[in-house]
C-alpha cells in the first residue's frame, strides 16, 4: 500500500511532474490526434460529403439544392452512357483485374515460395516493380501500344506479318479496354502479393510433414488442405488490397487514350464518368451519386472477400 501511495504524493508536490502525469493519462488521445484529424478530414468527411451531395444538385457556384433521389434515378434511367458503356466496362474490368489479378498473385506467390531464397528475392522484386510505377505506368505502356507503325507492338506485329496496318490500340473502341486490362494486371502485384508470399513462407513446415502422414498425396492437395487454411488471414488482406488496387487505378483509360470521355466510351469506367461530370461539366451532385455507387460496389466486393477468407464464426 505504502509503495503505491508514495509516488502520487511526490508528483502532486512537484507541479511539473503532475502536469506530465496528466498528459500521460490521456497520452493515447494525443498520440491518436494527428492521425484522427487527417483521417476525418480527408477520408471520413469526403465519404460523408459524397453521400450528402448525392442527394443534391450542385454546380459548385450556387449552394446545393436538395433533389432527393433524383440523381440516382437519372443515373439508372436516363444516362444511356452509364448503363450501356460504363457499367459493363466496370464489371469486365473489375472481374478480370480483381479476382483475376488476385488469383494470379496467389499463384505467383506460391510458386515463388517453392524457390530458394536468392532467386525468390530477385523475382519478387521484379514482379513487385510494376506496382511502383504509379503515374508512370501509362507512359510506359503508351510507348509500347503507340498507334502508328513506330509503336513497338505494332512494329513487331507488322514485321512478323500478323497485321498489315498499324492498329490504333489506344484510340480504337475495340482495343482500348483489353489494353487497360493488360496494363492493370501488369501493375497488380502489390503489397497484397508480398503479404501472401510472406504468409506462405511462414507456414509451419511441420504442418506439411503432418499432412504427408495424414495422406496428402500431391501439391494440389497440399495447397488446398494446408497452405490456404494457414495463410487465410494474409489472403484476406491480399484480397482487400487487390480490391483497392482495382478500383483506385482505373483512371488510366483516360490517360492512355488522352481524352475524357474515352473514344466511343470504350474504356469509360465509373471513375472517369465521375470526373467527366464533376470536373468537366460541374454537376457535382450527379458526380457524387456516382461515387457513392462506386463506394457501394467496393464495399459489397469486400463483403464477398470477408465471406470467403474471414474467420468462420
Amino acid at each position: 500500500m505504502n509503495s503505491i501511495a508514495r509516488p502520487s504524493k511526490r508528483r502532486s508536490a512537484l507541479g511539473r511532474r503532475s502536469l506530465l502525469d496528466r498528459l500521460n493519462r490521456c497520452s493515447h488521445w494525443i498520440m491518436l490526434a494527428p492521425f484522427l484529424i487527417c483521417f476525418t478530414l480527408f477520408i471520413l468527411l469526403p465519404v460523408l460529403a459524397a453521400i450528402g451531395l448525392s442527394f443534391t444538385r450542385f454546380d459548385s457556384v450556387q449552394a446545393p439544392s436538395f433533389v432527393g433521389l433524383q440523381n440516382y434515378i437519372d443515373i439508372f434511367s436516363s444516362d444511356r452512357r452509364f448503363v450501356q458503356n460504363v457499367i459493363p466496362n466496370t464489371i469486365i474490368y473489375a472481374v478480370v483485374v480483381g479476382p483475376g489479378g488476385y488469383a494470379l498473385s496467389f499463384v505467383l506467390a506460391w510458386i515463388l515460395a517453392q524457390l530458394s531464397r536468392g532467386p525468390r528475392t530477385v523475382l519478387a522484386v521484379i514482379l513487385y516493380s510494376p506496382s511502383m510505377m504509379g503515374a508512370a505506368t501509362t507512359l510506359v505502356w503508351s510507348t509500347i501500344f503507340s498507334g502508328d507503325k513506330m509503336g513497338y507492338l505494332n512494329s513487331i506485329l507488322l514485321s512478323m506479318g500478323i497485321i498489315r496496318e498499324p492498329v490504333a490500340w489506344l484510340t480504337s473502341t475495340e482495343t482500348l479496354l483489353p489494353v487497360m486490362l493488360v496494363v492493370a494486371l501488369w501493375s497488380s502485384m502489390g503489397v497484397g502479393f508480398l503479404a501472401m508470399l510472406s504468409g506462405i513462407l511462414n507456414v509451419n513446415a511441420e504442418l506439411y510433414e503432418a499432412g504427408r502422414i495424414d495422406g496428402v498425396r500431391n501439391r494440389l492437395q497440399e495447397v488446398y488442405y494446408i497452405t490456404i487454411p494457414s495463410v487465410r488471414p494474409q489472403m484476406l488482406f491480399g484480397a482487400v488490397m487487390a480490391l483497392v488496387n482495382t478500383f483506385n487505378s482505373p483512371g488510366m483509360g483516360v490517360t492512355l487514350s488522352g481524352s475524357n470521355p474515352t473514344p466511343g466510351y470504350a474504356g469509360q469506367l465509373i471513375v472517369n464518368h465521375m470526373d467527366d461530370y464533376g470536373f468537366l461539366r460541374y454537376e457535382m451532385g450527379y458526380a457524387a451519386a456516382l461515387s457513392v455507387i462506386l463506394l457501394i460496389i467496393v464495399w459489397l466486393s469486400s463483403r464477398v472477400a470477408y465471406k470467403l477468407f474471414g474467420d468462420k464464426d
Binding site: I43, Y152, A195, V203, F279
Partner: protein
Amino acid sequence: MTKIKRVHPRFLRQGRLKFYILLLPIVAFMLLPILYIFFHAFKPMDELFAFPPKFITRHPTMENFRRLFSSANSTNYPLSIYLFNSILTSLITVAATVLMCAASGFALSKKQFRGKRLILEVNQAALMFVSVAVAIPRFLIIKSVGLMDNYLSHILPLLAMPVGLFLVKQFIDQVPSALIDAAQIDGCTDFGILFRIILPVIKPALATVAILAFQQSWNSVEASQKFIDTEQMKTFAYYISVVASPSGNTVAGQGIGAAGVLFLFVPCLILFIFLQSKVMSAVAHSGIK
C-alpha cells in the same frame, strides 16, 4: 525472414525447374516493358526513329536526359523546381506518416481506452478506401479549408494511411507487453515508451510504411492537377506526365518520357531493394482475422 526457411520436406523439393518454366512468361511480361523503357531512355534520335524499332540501345546517349533537364519544353520553369518540390513534399510526407502511424499504432495496440474498438473497426473498413472515388468531395474540402494553391495540399491528404496504421498496429501487437510494463515501472512516460522502446523494435513495419508513403507521394499528381495553380509549386511526377502525355505522343517525346519514367521509378526501386527484407517481415503480420 532472417534465415532460409525449409518450406517443404525434402521429398517435395526436387524439380524446381518446372516452376522456373512456369514463371518465365510471366516474369518476361512484367520485366520487358521496364527494360524497354530503360533502353529507350538512352537511345539517340536515330535509334528512336529507327524502323523496325530496336529493343536494345546500340549507342547509348544521355541526350534524352539533357533535353528533359533543359527547361525549354512545355513550361517555362527549370526541372529542378519540380524535382525540389517532389523531394521536399515526399520527405515530409514520409516522415509525418511514419510518426503518425507509429504513435497511433502504439495507442491502439497497447493502451486500453473507450472508443478503441470503434477506431480499429473504422480503420479496418478504411483499408478499402478508394481515394479516387471521393476526388470531388476532397476537392471541395480542400477548397473550403483554404488549402487551394497551397503547398500543404501536396502533403496533408496523403497523411492518413489506413494500410500504414493497420500494418504498424499488427506489428506492435507482437511486441510483448512485459517490455512496456517494465518501462512503466521504471518511470517512463508513454511518450518515452513510444520513442525509446516501440520505435526501435518496430523498424520493419515503419520501413514498410515509409516505402508505401514514398511511392504514393513521389508518384502523386492529384494535387498538382487539381489543387495547385502556381506552376512553380507542382511536382516532378506531374511535370513528367505533362511533358510525355500520350496525347502529344511524338517519337522525340517518347525518348524524353522514358528518361522521365526512369527518374520516377529508380528511387522507388532502390528504396524497395534496400528495404525488401524488412517489408517482407512486416507484411507477414498483415493477416486480417
